[in-house]
Symmetry: C2
Subunit: 339 residues, 2 copies
Amino acid sequence: MRIIVDAFGGDNAPLEIIKGAAMAVKEYGHTVILTGNEAVIRKTAEDNGIALDGMEFIDCDDVITMHDAPRSILREHKSCSMAVGMKALADGTGDAFVSAGNTGALLVGGTFLVKRIKGVSRAALAAIMPTNDGPVMMVDAGANVECRPEMLRRFAQMGSIYMTDVMGNGKQARVGLLNVGTEDEKGGELQQKTFALLKETDLNFIGNVEARQVPFGEADVVVADGFAGNTLLKTMEGTADLIVQKIKGVFNSNPMTKIAYLLVQSKMKAFKKLLSTDEYGGAPLLGLKKPVIKTHGNSKANAVKNAIRVAAEFAAADVIGKIEAVVAADADEGADDGE
Amino acid sequence: MRIIVDAFGGDNAPLEIIKGAAMAVKEYGHTVILTGNEAVIRKTAEDNGIALDGMEFIDCDDVITMHDAPRSILREHKSCSMAVGMKALADGTGDAFVSAGNTGALLVGGTFLVKRIKGVSRAALAAIMPTNDGPVMMVDAGANVECRPEMLRRFAQMGSIYMTDVMGNGKQARVGLLNVGTEDEKGGELQQKTFALLKETDLNFIGNVEARQVPFGEADVVVADGFAGNTLLKTMEGTADLIVQKIKGVFNSNPMTKIAYLLVQSKMKAFKKLLSTDEYGGAPLLGLKKPVIKTHGNSKANAVKNAIRVAAEFAAADVIGKIEAVVAADADEGADDGE
């Protein structure tokens, strides 16, 4: 597989990106195509003793930052490392694209440079989060704050394919609709209409899911509009961050509590691993013609390595071909996604 | 103060309710009026050695459970302990009402038995949650899944009064609008229009707040539609529950980790106290003509005691008079809440 990676996206670019790329080349045998200033990449690699075997480069100078407007990727930053990577993906230079950069810009670039699958009216950002029982996908996680029921049905279909074929263990993903209660008639018009649409699909639809149950792993795919999905995702992150910070404070209180930490260290590491998303690779953008993965902005080498692995699996599993087939089948039945 | 308490609401009724009532009578000198089967209350008190000094009773047989439809409080369960309590509140028998029972029924009963303040189109459920920096109010927390901007402005006004005058430390509450980003123009139509409305109020409006910052205490009042608010509330609860459960597992792993727990025990208790809502009394229903507090369904005596204290403070601070004044001032300016 040939995976294109934005070497200048995220808080730890380019060093951690290059490190992760080198790990992925060595571990999985993929070719990694790095986009960004080649001289800086080579200098960073040399300074840090990173071998660039198995890598190719697409040289460009510009970088889009977290502070740039998303749409600037089509205009003033149209030659940034992210845009150049997506254009290379679109023209077939690589099989998938990974970036830890500006999420909004990635969504705009995905829609206008990589382009959507015919019949998909909106691309979704599908965050993958840890639960007590494996990863859960929250779709949409913020790309579309206002949604129609048909959009949510499409998100559910795309998310189910990804979680079953890329993240799954062979079992068909359990799809839940985020709601304020578990009874069928709960929620507003969006939830009630979406519930009815999901009932008619051949998805493994388990009905309404309350936010409280999501961290316990009650569903593999949780469907919501991007506003509620983003709220859930960020509340989980913020709550976990605060509690982990407080627990650290407990152990750092005095010499006795520091000794206590030594006694629970290995168990605490296993616990922290449960909360980590490093293994999941990142959030796929679903609905585009080619595989794009958004890794967390604070990703370090290990997370970047896993993002490259998952991007290759995303391509290898032909998720996009399967989405196209579902969209075509729906179109035959007159069930488009509302636009 | 005379506080009416539903003796048969919640998972631990009537024992923990009666215990909490007795504690409140003793500690604060309030009169508590218990609603429900008086014989059962007296027998429970006797069996458990609880003195019933300072209490009055409104005898009734029926109870509304978590499984009953909310609207049944107006029909088949119109004589349940919750309905009887709200009618007594409406007719002036007491100054405030507390229940740990069915939230939906309490909202319906609040609206139709206690009734709304003139000019308030919808009552809100205003959950109070712990943060790293004191309590935060999430309003609406699920009573109104679909909202108009004018409703959110009203929720913000009511929440600000409550958090400033009942839960506050004298400083004007910081009001934030839940959004998917902090920039002014973020979100959908609901958020953008609400943002503009809140800018025009004399609230201490701090702008958009991301869900990730809520557990850190960035705002004292977070305003959202009931769907997103409920999602945030329940995600915080679920995430915290899962992590606390996992941490318990860490300490319970083996004899060494159990020794470790002894070394951090006092610090862990302080940490658990941070996550507890027992001191906050519960969620006020805002927009009604009289003070109503919903305590958590799993409340034990201490939480019930605090709910009675807070209910009395809710009444003493004349929150309702202040809400009426704001509504009247808005009406003079032609700024009603949209109905």
